[in-house]
Amino acid sequence: MNSPIIELKSVGKSFRSADGSARSVLENVDFTLNEGEIVALLGKSGSGKSTMLRIMAGLIGADSGQVLYRGLPIYGPAHGISMVFQSFALFPWLTVQKNVELGLEAKGMSPDERIQRARSAIELIGLSGFEGALPRELSGGMRQRVGIARALVMEPEVLLMDEAFSALDVLTGERLREDILELWEGGLLPTKAMLVVSHNIEEAVMMADRVLVFASDPGRVRDELQIKLPRPREVEGADVRSLIDKVYGLMTAGALRSGRMADKGVKMGIGDRLPEVGISRMEGTLEILADEPFLGRADLPKLAEKTELSDHELLDIASALTLLGFALLEQGDIMLTPLGLKYAQAENSERKAIFGHQLIENVPLIAYIRHGLVQDPSGDLHEDLFLKLLRFTLSEADTLSALRVAIEWGRYGELFEYDFNTGTLNMPKDEEVAAEQRARDIA
């Protein structure tokens, strides 16, 4: 094996949440990036893969453990490590040429040399002729090319890519990826190793020599997969397809474990993250799953193709469906349960009844909200009560997302209502009337 460039040794990172309690994002991560390899990091959003990338970039410091670059500790961004950003992060007021020169200028390089180097980087990445353009004149794909040229001109040993292709449309993203792999294989890049954070499984399999799958809460490397296929790889090739299947399997297995589903014997807790999935997506997926050609059982990559959803969207939907007991995951396949089938075929009102029932059974947060409302004489509770509770275990963004999901689901299941203006959760109106009626009857 080639020599290591970046090493992480039992690195941990936690962030302070709003109430001051620390929440662990990364725990005990060991990782080595070796010369001559491309490594892909896969994982659900919030699994800490972005944090790990930023620790390596020197943008944030690790709380514990060691970060070594060529055997020496790093405390901030190093010259030999460069980064490409998801939203390009180009300076809109600088021309393409000036954007590419940025890092060289910061280093204090003389104008002549700087211009020369930027020119060749621009040419390498296929942007010649656009030197004088402002970023806003370019399409997304061209902008990301500028972002890559800007990173490459620094002649970095390590290139970090933070979901570099996910803001582009599929075609443009693939094209750019292929171009970069071509340069890499042709030995035209100064770069000795690349680390790619992605949530696109196909992208990871097409690019990487090694795929790391992250588990969340707290983030850690759970699985590692070596890919020995020669590049360029064929997307439709049998080897690639089976690898994609395999990674799907690893990812969904992770979803089960980290989501703490009932079937593994670990019940979900009140303060757990909820998959951010809307009702219509869930129902749409259920219906597609119940129909031809799947008839209740589907290969996840095929389902992704059919539904035109991205991998992480589909994985979120899958974990929501398993959470509610409508589906099961097995070896990268998704299967409808009898209840899921019944749901897919049911009428609207029946669906709502089933949905509401499953929520109470399987989603502790929603059950807890409902319980509070039923007990409370006024029949309404302020959302802050629940937000405070969630903040103990979740980050601010996850807290808001969890409550938002709970509200959307709970509304649909007719378990409670929500007033946006006042931020209160309350009992559905007709139930309240019924309860009053009962109270009067008793009196």
Binding site: R54, A57, G58, L59, G61, Y69, L72, P73, I74, Y75, G76, P77, A78, H79, I81, S82, M83, F85, Q86, S87, F88, A89, F91, P92, W93, L94, T95, L102, G103, E105, A106, K107, G108, P111, G129, F130, E131, G132, A133, L134, P135, R136, E137, L138, S139, G141, M142, R150, M154, D169, L171, T172, R175, L176, F420, N421
Partner: protein
Amino acid sequence: MTLDTLTESAMSERKQFFPRQVVETGWNKWDWALLPMVLAVLVLLAYGGEEMSRPYQVGQALDLSLNPEYLPYYLLRTTLRMFIALGASIAFSCVFAVLATKYRAAEKFLIPMLDILQSIPILGFLSITVTAFIALFPGSLLGVECAAIFAIFTSQAWNMAFSAYQGFRTVPTELKEAASVFNLSSWQRFWRLELPFATPGLLWNMMMSMSGGWFFVVASEAISVSNQNIKLPGIGSYIALAIEQRNLHAIAWAIGAMLVGVILYDQFFFRPLLAWADKFRFEESGSETAQESWLLNWLRKTERTKGIALAASNTLERSFVIFKHNYDGTSIRARPLARSTTPERIWDAVLAAVVFYALWTLVHFIHAEVSWSEVGLAFMMGFYTMVRVVVLIFLAALVWIPVGVWIGMNPRIAGRAQAVIQFLAAFPANLMFPVVVFLLVRYHLNPDIWLSPLMILGTQWYILFNVIAGASTIPTELRYAAQNFGLSGMLKWRRYLLPAIFPSFVTGAITASGGSWNASIVAEYVTWGNTTLKAHGIGSYIAEMTASGDFPRIALGIGVMCIFVMGFNHFIWRSLYRMTENRLHF
């Protein structure tokens, strides 16, 4: 052919627009035309500057004539003052924004400080600082000039500083990270990232400040505080003199000169600047139409100016070499120091101590210098003015919301209206005094009621301005939907138009109410020749005390006004603003 190559080929057809330096080289005809203009400007600046530092003794009367022939000269002097103040405001804003965003300790102190400073009426500054400035430059006019410039500065700087701070703070995270990854030093970051990002907001506020400056130019040039009576040559003093001598013709001339001034600096300064600053817009969409400026197009065609611009950018880049980061993250120097909370605690303690000391002095001062009943009176006055402000904002809303919505929905009118409204916003209320005094005396009207409209004269335009902006950004689809459902009458306003423009109305009303408080000093205490009319209110209280040079009461009046303005901002505007941010936007 993939999609990307398609866009690439489409792009390359537009390629000839990009590198202009390569297309045009050599001497060009525009250089000749520009030369006299540049020379003329230089001569004027030198002349104005020389006049500013003439010898002067306190008490000496400065020649001032109502002859319109002198107006161009007065215009030059006034404009020079305003631009110096503007320059100072820009420098202040940048320093303020850097300090407040880089150091938490500074932020803790600076933000509330600015909050207070902006609610202090500018006359307050003038009365406190004029003697100090005169002492600073004995025997020269420069001291008085500085006092006047400082007063103009105080009417321009605060909102610019806030906008710069806001801009520096809201630099997108990814751009910040990119700057870190490429190891930009603080100096490089300031010029390459933070200042460009804050520029559009800063520029917009500069224009607003310039208008605001005109409003107070009379007060700041004709200094009649603490028993001084100095009239610096300028449009403001010209107006003041015209008011003293009841000369309506002169007033008309002054309005004309102001109009010329506004048009000149709009055409020669702001329009080129706006057109140039278009590249700093951050939104990636090109929906907003770019500003056009004939002067900028002209300058861009000229070799000389290109040379100057190039030299400037080269100098900047050379400075980057000097102020660069000399080490990267692998160096021991990048190692984060263990964070100690002690200095922060000490700083907090110092701040608290200063606050307590100030509070104690204040109580002591009030007790010794002015009676507590005087404080009660001042608060009563403040209450009167508050009632005025509230009623006026409400009335202005009634009038300008329908007008603004109508203009905003007609894009062709909206474009032209903008320039007109800016002039109206700059229009000093003082120029209306003759008419008002005449009417009030003639018909024996109650000054408590009829002087009030003067307060909102200059500031109502902010409401109109923002409502127009709000109405013109109503999404077309929403407009079609409203038409489709046949919304009309009250329902149309309640359900569609009012909610749609409410956020921009609130923004405008905040500015308008702040301005009205400030204007109350001018508007509640009005003179025309020997006639003086005054309305009960904190503004007239301050103006009266200022005229008689009663420092303790000036301080009391200013303090009370600050409390009212800040209370207003905190309890009413901010909560309204937050509400609109949460709920009412597209």
